[in-house]
Symmetry: C2
Subunit: 123 residues, 2 copies
DNA sequence: ACAACATTTCCATAGTTATGGAATTATGGA
DNA sequence: TCCATAATTCCATAACTATGGAAATGTTGT
């Protein structure tokens, strides 16, 4: 996944109402939700919600289909997992093994940062 | 983790230079990196970098210590994992089991969305 | 004390984002 | 066709964010 796409996705999620909408869709699963349902759930005026859903759509985080007069928004789990994968990339590799990390380290170095200034202070 | 903190973290990561800086720090591991090194790596003027590092700091995504004249920025892996956990929360539960999902579903419903309009169309 | 270095803060400017009422488009039922 | 419903687009406004030169702050070695 390109880092430009990742930024678009992060921008989309970095907003109160969009994060709430996305989470509601993740929770709703494959059946998805309509804008009117979301509008009520999140207490947002239709145009405002529409604006935010468009951002999530452009970021590829949600997909839309029509069902009669209603549109149905569904979370795109693959996109979400792409973002998560990008953020955890290079984490928990040789250099890093925090307790909370869910990915297993391949090897842990016990190396401490030793700068000239620190060495001098030690001496 | 509070959703307000999550939004602050996502805002911090949703910017080209900050995402690049954060990833460089994740890759660098516990030894961390100084602003001057980052400034060169990312080709950013010092004040601009400083501005972005401050945002990452306020978002709790990085920690700083001083070593002589230099500051040392280190990625906060716990914070990053908190963001990841928040995003994947409620995912891959009963209602959802995408192929790409890394978390095992507890149970998979084979339920399709059946709206009035769809039912009518089918009939 | 002073010079040199590392980094930050200050600040004006340019650009971007969020908001919601009014108008518009699309769909389905009578 | 005409009406009601679902959702979007339009648009002006207010608020926020990024940028980088100049100045200020803190730190070390002489």
């Amino acid at each position: 996944m390109e880092s430009e796409q990742i930024i678009t996705a992060l921008e989309a999620l970095a907003q109160e109402h969009r994060l709430a909408a996305f989470r509601a869709l993740v929770k709703a699963g494959p059946p998805g939700l309509t804008p009117s349902v979301l509008s009520e759930k999140l207490a947002l005026p239709a145009p405002t919600l529409s604006f935010h859903l468009a951002q999530l759509r452009h970021a590829g985080l949600v997909n839309v289909t029509r069902d009669g007069r209603s549109l149905i928004y569904v979370a795109n789990y693959d996109a979400m997992n792409g973002v998560v994968a990008f953020l955890t990339e290079n984490c928990c590799a040789d250099a890093c093994a925090p307790a909370s990390c869910s990915v297993k380290p391949t090897k842990v170095k016990e190396k401490t940062h030793e700068t000239p200034a620190r060495a001098r202070r030690r001496a």
